[in-house]
């Protein structure tokens, strides 16, 4: 099978859907000729023109609001938010307007839009261009949240997102744009709410999202050489969440670590760990561990920044402690 970059996969997904459905347009800053700073959208304006690939002023709340209104009136906009950190600028339009319109109207209006943005630290971009803020939007009922972990996932999830009739926020890992993976030429979709079991195991379950899937996979490789068999699960979407696949795995392995690049406190890791504890408590042999980003603004200096995100060695170390029963109440 051919291999393409995550960037190319996203580009293909959008182009295929735009060819199929003329009501789709894409709007954001420097999305047309510039093709975004990451060049993910290069070539789209040549095919679809500036009426469908729309460059805006630097007005995030403004173009987010436009997309909500357009989605309510027959269009299917894709909003390009250059950095995930800019979510804070669009929160009213996304969380008070887009997320609630279908419910507040008793199901009469709907907002079929996709907000594509990114996450991920260690790009030496400091505290306002490095955050992983998906927990913020996952907290708001009415929004769906997808976290692709490879080029294959990025294409399949983007195509499903564009066809969904509810607002979907999709976070791409900005450090993975140039990572290649096998992606079929044929059209395919990845349904929401169906986790992917990347590796089967019997001693411990590693639930990992987005950028942390590679970290969990690498940890599992290391653990395998030590005789510890780790199962790696990528939920793909955190809203909706495929609880069953995660719980079935934990009932089998009796141990779990949840790894995600959002801040550890009040985040995705805590949510998934709590569900495991609530619903698989009597199958557990050890406390469920959370491994998120450190609760500090992301620092600039490489010497500091690298300390803030989970690493494969850190995950492997934590897994060893769990499997060897070294984790007590004080863990």
């Amino acid at each position: 099978m051919r291999e393409i970059t995550l960037s190319k996969a996203v580009n293909e997904a959008i182009a295929e859907e735009m060819r199929r459905d003329p009501t789709i347009f894409l709007i954001g800053e420097d999305v047309a000729e510039a093709g975004t700073p990451f060049k993910v959208l290069s070539g789209l304006v040549e095919e679809f023109g500036t009426e469908r690939i729309i460059d805006t002023p630097i007005s995030e709340p403004g173009f987010m609001g436009l997309a909500v209104g357009a989605a309510m009136t027959g269009s299917r906009p894709i909003v390009d938010l250059m950095f995930g950190d800019f979510l804070f600028l669009v929160m009213d339009q996304l969380c008070n307007q887009a997320a609630k319109t279908h419910y507040m109207s008793g199901g009469k209006l709907s907002v079929p839009l996709v907000l594509r943005t990114n996450l991920g630290a260690t790009r030496r971009s400091a505290a306002q261009h490095s955050q992983s803020l998906h927990a913020l939007v996952a907290h708001i009922p009415g929004l769906k949240v997808a976290l692709p972990s490879s080029a294959y996932e990025a294409k399949g999830l983007m195509k499903t997102a564009i066809r969904d009739n509810s607002p979907v926020v999709i976070f791409e890992d900005k450090l993975m744009y140039n990572d290649k993976a096998p992606v079929p030429e044929e059209e395919y979709y990845i349904p929401f709410g169906e986790a992917n079991v990347l590796r089967e195991g019997k001693d411990i379950t590693l639930v990992a999202t987005s950028s942390m899937v590679q970290v969990a996979q690498a940890a599992a490789e290391t653990l395998a050489t030590e005789g510890i068999s780790a199962e790696v699960i990528d939920p793909r979407t955190i809203v909706p969440l495929d609880e069953k696949t995660i719980l079935d795995s934990v009932r089998k392995t009796s141990r779990a670590i949840v790894i995600d690049e959002g801040h550890q406190s009040y985040g995705i890791t805590g949510e998934i760990a709590a569900r495991i504890s609530e619903k698989a408590f009597y199958h557990l042999d050890a406390p469920v561990l959370r491994m998120g980003a450190m609760d500090v603004p992301v620092p600039f200096s490489p010497a500091l920044e690298d300390l803030t995100v989970p690493t494969a060695e850190g995950v492997a170390q934590a897994a060893r402690r769990l499997v060897r029963q070294e984790v007590s109440d004080a863990a």
Binding site: S59, P61, S75, Q93, S105, G107
Partner: protein
């Protein structure tokens, strides 16, 4: 700045405008009573006094044209074609309400007549209205969107962002600022520097001021601008000078600290849009006092019947609480 001038339309249009204004006033009088008698959950914001704005503008629109409304949205809802029964049901949280009781007063909208919703975030619908206009243009439709908001909302940054894009892309949107002189509990003079029309003009948007108590003046201007917006000559901005008879909301009763009773009396007695339009209709021989009285009585009865119906109507089944969080997708 262009000046609005009066132009005669036909008798049927005049009487419909009169009736629609009376319907808004009647709806609000009943809503206020429901609040005061503790029969309505929550609070509501009265549109009384501003009827000529909603009616003058919405009478210039078709069902395909869109509006976005505000927390003070009952007037827009009535004027854009809603029925009392579903409106009172919504106000009381009943399942037959326009939003199945999930929106209430601050989100009330008859979506089938192009009302994209009342919004409880001040200025929150400015992007939605502008996006609806972008959508219409992109999809080759000729509908126009009117974005209603108050003077208070002109302090929100979102307005400047979307006006900029609307002007750059010549979108068919009309920003209609209902300047009732008060931003919640604060005089507008204390929150707005310079002139509002100058702000829109700074983006190259043609701007107009009109007496928001004069339904004919409002309607004449709206017809002209809607026709022009339909032809791609938009966007436009209108500042409509009007007055809010009640407080910020129904519970804002003792308001001497921010505005005087004398001021309220002057507006109610000398500048009431319904009384003055009624006088004009009689003066021009369009209708007699008795005919207008008949309209008022008929509306009053409609409202009373709708209130009675809504009070007896069913609440949503508890199973509805988690319905409509996500829109259904087509079967795969």
């Amino acid at each position: 700045m262009a000046k609005a001038t009066k132009r005669k339309t036909n008798t049927e249009d005049y009487l419909r405008m009169y009736r629609q204004m009376v319907r808004i006033r009647s709806f609000e009088d009943n809503a206020n009573q429901l609040y005061l008698s503790a029969k309505m959950p929550g609070l509501t914001h009265m549109y009384s006094g501003e009827e000529a704005v909603a009616v003058g503008i919405c009478e210039a629109l078709t069902d395909d044209d869109k509006i976005t409304s505000t927390h003070r949205g009952h007037g827009h809802c009535v004027a854009k074609g809603a029925e009392f029964k579903q409106m009172f049901c919504e106000l009381l949280g009943k399942v037959e309400g326009y939003c199945r009781g999930k929106g209430g007063s601050m989100h009330i909208a008859d979506q089938s007549h192009g009302n994209l919703g009342a919004n409880a975030i001040v200025g929150g619908s400015m992007g939605i209205a502008t996006g609806a206009a972008l959508s219409a243009r992109r999809l080759g439709r000729d509908d126009v969107t009117v974005c209603f908001f108050g003077d208070g909302a002109t302090a929100q940054g979102l307005w400047y962002e979307v006006m900029n894009m609307a002007a750059l892309w010549k979108l068919p949107v009309i920003y209609a600022c209902e300047n009732n002189g008060y931003s919640e509990y604060t005089k507008t003079d204390e929150i707005a520097a310079g002139s509002l029309t100058a702000r829109a003009e700074a983006f190259g948007i043609e701007s107009f001021e009109v007496d928001g108590q004069d339904v004919l003046a409002v309607n004449e201007l709206a017809q002209r601008l809607v026709a022009r917006a339909r032809k791609g000559e938009g966007p436009f901005f209108i500042e409509l000078k009007t007055y809010r008879y009640h407080g910020h909301h129904v519970g804002d009763i003792n308001r001497d600290y921010y505005r005087s009773k004398d001021e309220e009396t002057i507006w109610k007695e000398q500048r009431d849009p319904i009384i003055n339009f009624g006088k004009w209709l009689v003066g021009e021989g369009v209708a007699s006092d008795a005919e207008l009285e008949e309209i008022r009585e008929a509306v009053k009865k409609d409202a009373a019947d709708a209130v009675e119906y809504a009070l007896a109507a069913d609440y949503p089944d508890v199973g509805e609480v988690d319905m409509h969080v996500y829109a259904p997708n087509d079967a795969a």
